[in-house]
Symmetry: D2
Subunit: 245 residues, 4 copies
């Protein structure tokens, strides 16, 4: 049976240093709130952030990461392209990726999706309700029929992504919009999950059912030892081939 | 983390009693060969077959089964409709189902798919090669790029099923056909996997990489404790609703 | 280029005869309202209903129908099983099917889906907004970002269907629910579309953007002359096969 | 009903000028062979190639193109990044894209897919057989159960792409490999089709059933006038929102 994933939670970690409201909600940073929740459920978790050397995502860190969580917002453009390529290659090799909230506009997510990843947004603290659409999905384990968030930023459709291979959650918003809020993809040997909630000024990541989803996502994205695929020119024919005239 | 699934392997168990060749390949029945392979990997497995009372699939057995394997061929029509309904309901409730080879024509698989599940077939013992199409999929764990079977019955497209939600294997056949050989579906709270190989006169289920797939499929189909979904008339509005004129 | 589909609109046609409110909204029956809308856009449309001989769905009618629309509600169980089998076979052969609103519980839809097709419902006339999720889809042609219905019956998730192969609409409801409201499937050579709105007491089918969806669905479900697939035992090998020992 | 698409066939157009064998098969270039086939079926087609100013893909040309075909191989890296961005934006806006054969490694296809798009290849002129997997798909219109190509270059799995939203063809190769050869995607308002065959030294694009697929693909990828989606900050709530404490 699969062993538990070694998780790295990456956070931009800028809002927390410049905005008192954010700092009051996440005093040690969003990454530490998420890491603490995953550790409490038994996972081994390290953290990394933008202002570390190589953004904390050295080749060695990535080689020892099974699932990478990604929260970013105001500084997407400061993420070095070389590091993005490194993370991308590691995902195709098998590392799982869980992209959170405003990470929809991160370089790595846009590169993986091939689309704009654009959407509508509004921060008036309205109510959100995430309905479980696929109760058979492992990311829905341990949940009720829906998750309710009393106050969240709204993200509205159209969401400029490829159709999810598995759609786990659809959000209802008080202001009249809907959103595909839990989206699964396979890319190479790696698994990618996008999870919508998590505005920096709101205590979303402190809520137990949200933490359950983060934990479920880590298990789901945990690589299994799939085949090493071979590419290139040219494989010897496996069968004897006689070419007809 | 999820516990290991309790498996029940169901087999029609008729060929083995009437055909010496089949009996020589599977002296204790196909079900015992599969059960032994799964037990050797640490799973708890019971077996059941057609000629038992209630085909061995009592309400109690199903209630204590996390994943049901199904091999049938010559006696699909002898399976009682009431038992089929019982199995169907239990799958929608969460039990996993792994349908093997000629089980494509079983009542339970046709009912779940809603289509003919028809195909082409030919038993001349030609070579089959199952290519892994989705290396990120948990059912591909521990495999190489392909599985080769020196001799198998051919199943050829078109296969009359709904497009698989996740397609894990595509088979190449010596005679010139291809086939979608590893097909995943979610149905209600349950997960369904169809796996093509396993002709009764051939030692397919004794081959280690095939046994690896069966084990992976058991883990994949193992239910997580997803939400209990509610249906019917009529749910109190969650929000205050004022009806406009 | 494809020719225009010949449409048959099937309606249970019972509510209209027994309920004054329904009769006031659809004086000639729901089928005639839909037929008129499609005819106004240039399609050739006939109608059929439950109380006709063979429910109006003779072999000859079906043979001359490219796309069948289906509205039913209170009398699903009165639909003859033999006719359901006939319609099912004709769909797999290529005829398109557009299932409307309470048709989710019809025998033909449940048979095609293989699941309960269950859901939550509430008739307080609340507001519904159908968001276009896939703007590239032909069924979204000519629409705005969403369709708004001032008053509709609510259908809420979980909707007990297989994950749609293409999801075109997601509904927002005033009472706090969401719903997958435009769902595409391929079954055999046929195409199937489920479209949620259309409560019998409400003028939904008189609304122009709803009529646009019905027209788009007729074009989308219109069969192209796909291959005649062959099944059975046993096809001569296309390639020369030498069986290895 | 939809009007016919205005097609632009783009070709690298280098092999034809430097390799006598290629020039003998496609004396006016691959683009003219494809354009002639589409014109013969009634479509309006222009051509463009790498060595034209702006690679022949000016803003004006793209604005007047409904479906763009793309054949490239030896000079992918010479395609200007700015033009790739322009084509990408136009696809998300609604233009269809049909990527042919070695175009799997083009900048535009890799950008749209977000993956390596890598594969195995071998040019010994072996036999290929493309089986129709989805007979209900419009791209399969007018075909038989399979297309046979007496001599083609082999492309083998694993193919490093996202799982196709609709899989139309699977190829069988004489040397023992299989390949997903007809792959459909929606990206923004645009539709993308990848079609495998078409090695430059072989007369694949002169074969009638291959031409039928190219024509079907042009019709399938032809944009319908889907909604103009709006993005950004911040949309006025559609509903009255009272924020609870």
């Amino acid at each position: 049976m699969a062993t538990l994933p070694r998780v790295t939670v990456w956070n931009e970690f800028r809002h927390e240093k410049t905005d008192r409201l954010v700092a009051s909600v996440y005093p040690d940073g969003i990454h530490e709130a998420i890491a603490a929740a995953l550790r409490a459920k038994g996972l081994s978790v390290r953290t990394a952030w933008l202002d570390q050397p190589e953004h904390g995502l050295t080749t060695e860190v990535l080689a020892n990461t099974d699932v990478l969580f990604w929260w970013g917002h105001m500084a997407h453009e400061e993420v070095n392209d070389e590091i993005v390529e490194r993370v991308h290659a590691r995902i195709l090799e098998g590392m799982g990726l869980v992209v959170l909230h405003s990470g929809h506009f991160s370089k790595i997510f846009r590169k993986l999706m091939g689309t704009t990843c654009n959407l509508k947004w509004r921060e008036i603290g309205e109510k959100e309700r995430l309905w479980v659409i696929d109760p058979a999905h492992p990311i829905a384990a341990g949940l009720g029929e829906y998750i309710e968030l009393a106050h969240e930023e709204m993200y509205g459709e159209h969401f400029g992504i490829p159709a999810p291979e598995e759609l786990v959650f659809i959000s209802w918003f008080q202001g009249g919009e809907v959103f595909r809020s839990g989206c699964c993809y396979h890319r190479g040997n790696g698994r990618v999950f996008y999870f919508r909630p998590g505005h920096e000024t709101l205590p979303t990541y402190h809520q137990p059912d949200i933490q359950q989803v983060l934990y479920n996502a880590a298990l789901w994205a945990n690589p299994s030892s799939g085949p090493t695929v071979n590419y290139g020119h040219f494989p010897t024919p496996i069968e004897n081939v006689t070419i007809a005239e």
